[in-house]
Symmetry: C2
Subunit: 242 residues, 2 copies
């Protein structure tokens, strides 16, 4: 018991899908939203490439109201860009001069739901492989109880999100306490498949579903590690560079 009492390290916990969010309490904690393919990877990349703010919204209808106010709007349904929107959801669309300094409305069902559910958290940031080192450093520097919130797909568990959560846990295992089996399992899963991550994710059904949409290059990008030095933080409206 003495060891437990003396261990003042903050707690790192993984929420495997939004359907399990009721088992977590974000109050005064930092929350890292993880939607690897593609929302949080796109957000990190866009901010790195000069976009001023990525504003997540859940529905096309909500995006339309922003569109009417004159905002740039990005979105797809079933892998096809919504015709009257300016952009689809590919990270490659938010790298050019045309988006620099802009605020962009970004329809993303699973990721937006996580942001809404994280209300009450101290900070909400967007984590992904493309900005992983910046996220590792930020969590460690904050030294605060942290929830790694896997966005999943329609409340279902998806492996790519769990793998990134596992990467964070593995990196920070010395500095944080792990007190539940979800967190330990994510760490072990990442530890054992990290050498073959793209190959493993290609076996996953989430990947297969997305592959049918013809976004393979996006997926390769989202599973890569260009090390964008950016922590996208939610300012109450959208994600901005910290």
């Amino acid at each position: 018991m003495t060891n437990t009492l003396e261990d003042n390290r903050p707690i790192l916990e993984v929420c495997l899908t939004p359907a399990l969010w009721d088992q977590h309490d974000p109050k005064d904690k930092n929350v890292v939203v993880i939607d690897i393919i593609r929302a949080t990877s796109t957000i990190a990349s866009a901010l790195h490439h000069g976009v001023k703010k990525m504003i997540p919204v859940e529905t096309v209808e909500e995006a339309n109201t922003w569109l009417e106010k004159g905002y740039l709007v990005a979105g797809e349904r079933d892998g096809i860009k919504i015709p009257h929107f300016h952009f689809g959801n590919s990270p490659f669309e938010f790298m050019g001069e045309d988006v620099r300094g802009k605020e962009i409305i970004h329809t993303t069902t699973n990721g937006t739901r996580c942001v809404l559910k994280s209300k009450g958290a101290r900070n909400i940031v967007a984590g992904s492989f493309v900005n992983q080192d910046a996220i590792f450093d930020w969590i460690k520097k904050e030294n605060r109880n942290t929830i790694l919130f896997c966005a999943g797909w329609k409340d279902h568990y998806v492996m790519d999100d769990a793998l990134f959560a596992g990467a964070v846990v593995r990196e920070l295992a010395d500095d944080f306490r792990i007190i539940d089996d979800s967190t330990l399992s994510a760490k072990l899963l990442y530890k054992h498949v990290r050498e073959n991550m793209l190959r493993t994710v290609k076996q996953a059904t989430h990947f297969k579903r997305l592959q049918r949409l013809g976004i393979e290059n996006d997926i390769k990008f989202c599973m890569s590690n260009p090390q964008f030095d950016v922590v996208p933080i939610f300012d109450g409206v959208g994600f901005v560079k910290l």
Copy 2:
């Protein structure tokens, strides 16, 4: 698409915790309830050692009503045998002459909840490492859509249940289709930790919680593989030998 249409193998799916059960539909499927430490291990062992029927009930109150009817009743709360019950919950208590041919009321919160939730399933069986080969063979012979239902702990994911689910998936991966990431992850987790399973489970918080209750020998037994050749099947009231 041709391959998909031609693949007539049944589906094998893992439900990681009862909190995610709504994402599964047991209708016409076989359900394998998995509560490694200790309910389903105890049930398999007890039937192997001659107990006639293990009747799972959720609450002490419910067990009391059976006790009043003259049944043998087993149960613990916080690791301590309930004083007026005949047995605790250790698998070692159901191996002797005194239980042979008997029907025993067995309080088990997480496992019982899974049985209740599995209503509508074609068959409900109890799976564990102690009878794993019998379970592998039965699922394969049935050749039917099957859900591996991890009982968890108070709706939380626990690693020992997921590991056994992963063992089943790994064994039957050629004969069944895997169509979701939970199932693939359980398989990978088992694949990579199976050589060090007891050591891995000892890191798990579920184990630590149980260790505090002083049931280490029970846990070692539940993680071992004596190969009891028994498939405990639910007959509407309790688990009996198939």
